[in-house]
Amino acid sequence: MSTAPHLAAVPTDPPGVTGPAAVASPWSRLAAVANRTWVRKLLLLALLAAAWEGYARQLANPLLVPTLSDTVRALVQSVRDGELPGRVAISLKLLLMGYAGGVGLAAVLAFAAAGTRIGAELLELLTAMLNPLPAVALLPLALLWFGIGAGSIVFVLVHSVVWPVALNAHAGFSSVSPTLRMVGRNYGLRGPLLALRILVPAASPHLLTGLKVGWAFAWRTLIAAELVFGVSSGRGGLGWFIYEKKSELDMPQVFAGLVTVVSIGLAVEHLVFRQLEARTVRRWGMRT
C-alpha cells in the first residue's frame, strides 16, 4: 500500500515546538519578568497614579482635582450602591444597539459593493461624504427626527459606526487576492457563497480593524451624546452620570465616572478585540 513517494525527510520542525531557552538564575528570571511589556506598563501606571495623588494633595483643591484616593473611594461607593453599574448598563445597552445597527448596515453596503459596480460606487460616494461628518454634529437633526432620548442616541451611534466599518470591509474585500477568488470559483462557489466562504475570512484583518475602530468611535460618540442629553428619560447613562455629578460639584464622582469610561474602553479593547485577534488573524499569520 505504501508506494507513496519518498518524502520522509521534511526539513522543518512541526509547528509549536520551539524550545524555550533554559532559564538560569533567579536574577535573570526577574529580569525576564521586568522585560514583559505588560509588567512595564503596570509600573508606568503606578508611577502616573502616584504623580496624580501627589499633585492633588499638594494642590489641595478637591473642586478642581480630587485625589486618587478620594476618586477610588467615590468609585467604590457608587459601585456598591448600584448607581454606577446601573448607568453603565444603560450606556452599554444603547451602545450595543447602535453598534449592531451600524455593523449590520455596513455589512449590507459592503456586500453590495463587493457584488456590484453600482454598489461600490454608492459606498465610495457615501463614505466620502459622510465619514468626515462628526456624529455629534448630527445631534440637532437627530433631536428633530427622533426627539430627546434613546432613539436619537442610537441614530448618531449608527452613523459613527457604519462608515469606518463599511470602509474597512470594502478595502478588505477589494484586496483579496485574485488567486483566492479563483480557488473559490474553481470549487463552484459564486455570489453570496463566494463572499461568505472566501471573501469574508480572507478580509478578516480588515474586518477586525473596522470593528475595532467602529467600537472606539461608538464609545466616544455615546459619552459625548449623553453629556448633551441623557436628561429626558430621567435615566441617563454614564455620560449623563458625569454631567450630573459635575452639576452637584461632586468632583470625586466625576472622576470616578471618567475612570469608568476609560476602564470599559480598555477592557473591551483587551478582553474582546485582542482575544479575537489572537484566535483568528494572528493564529492564521494574516496580521500584516
Binding site: 508506494t3 507513496a4 521534511v10 512541526p14 483566492l180 474553481n186 463552484g188
Partner: protein, 261 residues
C-alpha cells in the same frame, strides 16, 4: 457538429482555434491565437513557451475563468461555460491555500464545497491525500507555518483529492529553489504513477517540460500559437530524459528565434 451533448469517443479535452484576449479601456491584448490541440485521458501534457506567450491565459480559459474570443474549448465534446471542480487548478503563487484553515481543513473544505462530501468522508479522504504528499505530521499546521515547497504539496494534495477530470498546473514549482523544484517534479510523477490523472502542466522551463510531460506542446512567443506538438513518451519516466530533452531543445531553438528566459 453536435454542440450540447457528450460525444462518445470525443477526446477528454479539445481546443479548436482558441483565441484569447484581454480588453481594457479600448486596448486589446491578444494572448493566444488559434490554438488547437487535444488531450486524451491519462496524458501528461506540458505546455511550453516563453514568458508572456499566454500560457497562464490558456490555462485560465480551460479552467473556465475566461471565455474564448474565438474558437471552442470542450470537455468530453461539451463546450465549457464556467469554472468547475472537474478542472482543478494548481497555481504558481504561495497564496492559493486558505490561510485561515489548516492543511487538513484546506483539503476538507475543498472536498465538502466542490464535491459535497459529508464531513466524515471528507476527513478520511483528506487524511489519505495529505499523507500521500508526506505532510501527515503537518496536517494541523496553518499555511503560514509551512515552507514554499510544502505549500505547493498541499495545493497538489487538495487538487488530487478532488479527483478532477483534468489537473491544471500553472508553473506550480516556478517559485521554488532548484533543488526543491527537482524533487517536486519527481514526487509529481510518483503521484501520477499511483493515480494516472490527466495533466496539463504549464512551464517555461524546457527541462521541466520534458521531465514532467509525456507530450510537449510548444507555443510561440506573443501571441501564443502552437509551434510543435511532440510526444516525449515515457522516455523521461524510463530515465531516458537526456534524449528527449535534446530533441525538444533543438526544436525550441529551431522554432523560436526570440526565446526569453
Amino acid at each position: 457538429m453536435a454542440t450540447a451533448m457528450t460525444l462518445a469517443g470525443a477526446p477528454l479535452l479539445d481546443l479548436a482555434g482558441v483565441t484569447l484576449e484581454y480588453r481594457s479601456g479600448g486596448r486589446r491584448v491578444v494572448a493566444t491565437e488559434g490554438v488547437g490541440f487535444q488531450v486524451e485521458a491519462g496524458e501528461r501534457v506540458a505546455l511550453l513557451g516563453p514568458s508572456g506567450c499566454g500560457k497562464s491565459t490558456l490555462l485560465k480559459a480551460v479552467a473556465g475563468f475566461l471565455p474564448p474570443a474565438a474558437g471552442r474549448i470542450s470537455l468530453h465534446g461539451r463546450a465549457l461555460v464556467s469554472p468547475g471542480p472537474d478542472r482543478i487548478v494548481v497555481f504558481q503563487g504561495f497564496d492559493q491555500l486558505l490561510p485561515w484553515k489548516t492543511v487538513h481543513e484546506n483539503v476538507v473544505f475543498a472536498l465538502r464545497t466542490a464535491r459535497g462530501l459529508r464531513r466524515a468522508e471528507a476527513e478520511r479522504r483528506a487524511r489519505d491525500h495529505v499523507r500521500r504528499v508526506g505532510l501527515a505530521p503537518f496536517a494541523h499546521a496553518y499555511p503560514h507555518e509551512l515552507s514554499g515547497g510544502m505549500k505547493q504539496r498541499v495545493a497538489i494534495a487538495r487538487c488530487l483529492a478532488l479527483q478532477p477530470e483534468i489537473v491544471l498546473m500553472d508553473e506550480p514549482f516556478g517559485a521554488l529553489d532548484a533543488l526543491t523544484r527537482e524533487r517536486m517534479q519527481e514526487e509529481l510523477l510518483e503521484l501520477w504513477r499511483e493515480a494516472r490523472f490527466t495533466l496539463l502542466f504549464v512551464t517555461h522551463d524546457i527541462a521541466e517540460a520534458v521531465r514532467v510531460g509525456s507530450r510537449v506542446i510548444l507555443l510561440s512567443a506573443h501571441p501564443g500559437r502552437v509551434r510543435a506538438d511532440l510526444r516525449v513518451g515515457e522516455g523521461a519516466l524510463a530515465g531516458d530524459a537526456h534524449d528527449a530533452q535534446a530533441r525538444v531543445r533543438a526544436l525550441v531553438f529551431d522554432a523560436l528565434e526570440d526565446w526569453s528566459i
